[in-house]
């Protein structure tokens, strides 16, 4: 797995949580994309990207998230993005219209449980 100073990856229960930090722009978005894709094993249910500690995000970050969504979609893996209300990242994603495309959450806990719940097999009615 490649490492990147702006990325911390933790995984459990099949959901990978990647916490990003610092500034994401044209200088590092491609490397971060690469690191994130390398951090999601084939058996993972999905990826949560936590932008809570990101201090700067622009269209390079927006492109990055759109590409990740696209690539994970091929493999039927879910992507959820955590961007707290009132945060700078949230504002940028909203201006860019990405809140209509991506699934945004305000905490890692809700993002993770959304992925887990959507994966639960529907219970068969008792005979």
């Amino acid at each position: 797995m490649t490492e990147h100073p702006n990325v911390t990856i933790a995984g459990d229960d099949g959901v990978v949580v990647a916490s990003l930090s610092g500034e994401i722009d044209l200088s590092n978005a491609a490397e971060i994309t690469h690191t994130l894709l390398g951090g999601v094993p084939n058996e993972a249910l999905g990826l949560v990207i936590d932008l809570s500690e990101v201090s700067y995000l622009d269209s390079a970050g927006v492109r990055m998230l759109a590409e990740l969504d696209h690539r994970l979609g091929w493999r039927a893996q879910a992507l959820r993005v955590v961007a707290p209300e009132e945060s700078r990242s949230r504002r940028v994603l909203e201006i860019a219209g990405l809140e209509r495309v991506l699934s945004l959450d305000t905490s890692v806990v809700t993002a993770r449980s959304s992925i887990e719940e959507s994966n639960e097999e529907p219970e068969l009615p008792p005979d």
């Binding site: 500034e23 722009d25 044209l26 269209s59 940028v92 201006i95 860019a96």
Partner: protein, 213 residues
Amino acid sequence: MAAGWAYREVVVDVDPAAKVVLYTDGLIDRRDLALEEGLERLLAAASSERGRPVEPVCRELINALVPSEAADDIALLAMERLRVRDEAFRLRMPAEPAELRRMRRALGGWLRGIGVELEDTNDLVLACAEACSNAIRHAYGPSAGTVDIEARRDDGAVEVVVRDFGRWRQRRGQDGGRGLALIEALAPSMRIERSERGTVVTMRRTLRGSVSV
């Protein structure tokens, strides 16, 4: 000054462009000159100096009104409201992605320094970074050129101009327009002028928090 004198407080409206001259009576009250005539001379001398810095005005008023052997001590205070003009922000950056961070720091620091509020600052820095990123992505070949950034405050707005000296290629991929869409949302009066000599992106944003000068 006799004890028991009462001083009145008065409020006088002063035209913002006016010069205010305060003086002690030694300036015009002279044995060889009627008070009215002294006042007239002072007004004439002060009016003739309109639009000049106040320091030489003080010297010239004293030269014009006071004979070399002054009988009384004289104090003179001249005030003028200066129109504060911000120095414009200018930065030339190499057209390299790794330079964007430094540009954001510099522009953000300048905007905060002239009193622009945080959200306006963040949005203007973002809009500028998008224009610079576009120039980096589209204007030059792999042997990169430079991008010039200029910003100035203009009443309640800030104008940021990003200039490159290359020729934008046809955009490749479907994501090329994301940056421009962001700029348009942040600075709705964006204009792009393309010419043989390069591309100029002009962004103007009316400040949310109006800043008093």
